[in-house]
Amino acid sequence: MTPPALQLSAITKRFGAVAANDGVDFELRRGEIHALLGENGAGKSTLMNIVYGMLTPDAGEIRVGGEPVTIGSPRQAMKLGIGMVFQHFMLVDVMTVAENVVLGAEPTKGALLDSRAAVARVRELAGRHGLSVDPDAVVEDITVGQQQRVEILRALDRGADILVLDEPTAVLTAQETAELMTVLRGLRDKGTSIVFISHKLSEVRAIADRVTVLRRGRTVGTVEVAGPNPPDEAELARLMVGRDVLLRVEKAACRPAAPLLDVRDLEADDDRGLRAVDGVSFDVRGGEIVAIAGVDGNGQRELVEAVCDLRAPVAGKVTVGGKDVTGRGARHARDCGLGHIAEDRQRSGLVLDFTLSENLALRDVDRRTRFGLLSPRRMLARATDLLAEFDVRGGGPQAAARSLSGGNQQKVVIAREIAAGPRVLVAAQPTRGLDVGAIEFVHRRLVAERDAGRAILLLSLELDEVRNLADRILVIFEGRIVGELPPTATEEQLGLLMLGGGGATSARASAA
């Protein structure tokens, strides 16, 4: 019996106190597509970065083709026949496809580059593996799907027979995803062993031969997908999420009042100028939590930014408490009673180098002044009160926000937004990366604010969170709201809508 292409035993990698990988075992057979499945933060990418020599493990053993190896750099990984396709492509945007593929192993003629040979080499390679891409095109001009092919071609050009793809479909359209699947199957049939990192159940079931599930840095188990008795999505979901993390939030029945947030026919583009929010309409009433559920990258970020006026909408209207806030600037929206718990608290939520007291004043600094000047004493006093009320630990009002743990940082953001007394609170992934205790705090607080009569718009990728907190669930798919479900809906019902299944897709198809 031939040894597995890649075998990882008891891999451990810690960042500070957090174990991203905690004794992970993983085995990749020759010529299989092996999915690595897990939630965000489960340790998938860390594991594969170890394999590619970008990170060094604290403990554990790596065997390639049965031989124990240490992989200290990407270069060594390449020599061992390991290629990696990163989620954020490692490409030089201003160079051509051919130049990118041969970079590091360029053909030369005398002292000069032999670009004709490079183009020929790339064309031959692309033809052989069915990866159609123009070798002379400049990378920044081609689509994301084609850029990904360039990455794959480069790995193959270096002779990779183990190919790791880190969430390859996260950036692809459905069409591109289908094409990628075909390419990967072709590669597998020619003997390449492939690791496919994903958190999308349907994809994994569609492409993988086997699945290894990671949860919180540990291996939960490995399942045959291609075998005679394949697991269904619910079963995979159970493995991935685990029953033990289900959190129940005690909450009274919802008593919705008048609509406070009203979004009409909103359209917005993403940073590349492509339509990301495509005619979204909904309202949120005082005293209710409306959750927007969806797979990552279906326009949630752009929707939040457009609602909070951090992104100019292309069309449509947003009103907060009856006042039009469309396109009038974030400060105006805030003045009209909009609070925003930003998705990325370290980047947009907090000024990490400010003290907590300064951070807590970010949204209403004009109300913290005396004779037109800031009053540090008042800022401190207020910060002290808020830190106590929201149970922020790890530093007083003078501590830098940077020095706090993620959970406590998030509490500071929430304290600031709620203390401003908003009528509408937009919470974008408010529990991302938090530990269980902090998650519970955030959930309770959101419910309490709902009960206090605020309108809460929750965006989350976690289905449990959505079903636990929401009074109504809107599902977003490719920039449109494709359905509304009650919180009693099953995971299957939600999942179907989120993946563009059910009536929604056909409705969209006929509309288009």
Partner: protein, 407 residues
């Protein structure tokens, strides 16, 4: 949406620098200065001269020995100290002009050009409007100079805000544009060239009423004018604006994290414009002090020889972008250029032409080492963070983000 721009990656670079510069207190700048003087001493030694007597002679020339009551010639020391302080005022202001930008995450290389525009405006205002009462004339001329500097700097701020043009490049270009505008205005046949000296490329003299009052030393022998108080007052205002006003608070928020500031409703582009304009106010005011305080006219040679604004970069960096640090750093550099001036340094001890160049080397070394102690500060920080325990560390570096080099 104008905010995301291709050249934005320099912003975070300045931000990174700013973050590092805000730690470490006064010890690192002191060590930096000592090392720079030490290396300068090596240069002196290498050319066969005695560094100690050289430095002693330079020190005596600064007039700082006036502070040591037992020292020799009190009158000479007083005169020297007056000159040192005359140098110090504009240096403080130019330092503030650079420092304020730093605090908002901008790198203002353009204090020199803003200073030049200030001198041009001041000499124009000072030599016109002869009928005005003295105090009003002085105030008006200073205001006009400050506004000229602000407008000049505002160009860079507006370009940054509207097109994302890197302020390092634009302010460098504006420096030289200002220089040539000055040379044009006061050169032979230029529109503002002196009426009574057709063969000299110089401006008219400012009228007597527009001169800053001298409060220490002889008015006719270039005694110390009140400009130093203006500069120190400006440093106080700098502190208040930065630490106590909404304007400064927003500037600091933008400096540390443009996305967070934006998300909190702060207009990032507007902050860039206002910040640069404030920088220009300081630098333009510096120009007015030199014109109204002791130069009284502006020759094209003065414009091209001036280094005050460039030294402002060194002053701000050494002073760690704080008000008090800037004042001390300005005093150091002001004293150095006084101590090495031709009329002060005894050629028998050390040639003043050499000493002036030595000063330039030391200034360069200070800036170079400040950029290095940034590294030491960050190492020190990291070590402290590690000692502080795992909980203190921010999120672990997730491997997927390692890929993006420019944030």
């Amino acid at each position: 949406m104008t905010a995301p721009t291709p050249s934005d990656h320099r912003g975070p670079a300045a931000t990174r620098l700013l973050r590092h510069l805000s730690v470490g207190g006064a010890v690192a700048p002191l060590i930096t200065t000592i090392v720079a003087f030490f290396v300068g001493g090596l240069v002196v030694l290498a050319t066969g001269k005695d560094p100690l007597t050289t430095y002693k002679a330079i020190f005596d020339g600064t007039g700082l020995n006036w502070l040591l009551p037992w020292s020799g010639d009190r009158a000479l020391a007083a005169t020297n100290l007056q000159q040192t302080l005359i140098n110090t005022g504009p240096l403080i202001l130019c330092g503030l002009a650079v420092a304020y930008a730093f605090r908002a995450g901008l790198f203002n290389i353009g204090a020199q050009g803003q200073y030049t525009m200030g001198t041009i405006a001041a000499v124009y205002a000072g030599s016109s409007w002869a009928g005005l009462p003295g105090w009003l004339h002085v105030v008006l001329a200073m205001a006009v100079a400050a506004l000229a500097g602000a407008a000049w700097a505002g160009i860079a701020g507006a370009l940054r805000a509207s097109t994302g043009a890197n302020e390092v490049i634009t302010t460098i270009m504006l420096n030289y544009t200002a220089l040539w505008i000055g040379v044009y205005l006061f050169g032979l046949g230029g529109p503002l060239q002196a009426n009574d000296q057709p063969d000299v490329p110089v401006s008219n003299d400012i009228v007597g009423g527009a001169k800053l009052p001298v409060f220490w030393g002889d008015k006719d022998l270039q005694g110390l004018h009140v400009g130093i108080f203006v500069a120190v007052l400006a440093a106080g205002i700098f502190w208040v604006v930065l630490n106590r006003s909404r304007l400064g608070y927003e500037a600091r928020a933008v400096g540390f994290s443009p996305p967070a500031a934006r998300s909190a409703g702060i207009g990032v582009g507007r902050t860039y414009v206002v910040t640069m304009a404030i920088c220009g106010l300081f630098a333009g005011l510096a120009g007015s002090l030199d014109i109204l305080g002791w130069q009284f006219h502006l020759a094209t040679n003065d414009i091209s020889a001036s280094q005050v604004g460039f030294l402002g970069i060194a002053v701000a960096l050494l002073g760690r972008n704080t008000a008090i640090g800037t004042c001390f750093a300005a005093l150091l550099f002001g004293a150095l250029s006084q101590g090495t001036s031709v009329r002060n340094l005894d050629p028998a001890v050390f040639q003043p032409e050499l000493a002036q160049n030595l000063t330039t080397v030391i200034q360069g070394l200070v800036v170079l080492l400040v950029s290095a102690d940034v590294l030491l500060a960050s190492v020190w920080r990291r070590r402290r963070a590690r000692a502080g325990g795992g909980g203190a560390a921010a999120a672990p570096p997730t491997p997927t983000t390692l890929g993006s080099v420019s944030p």
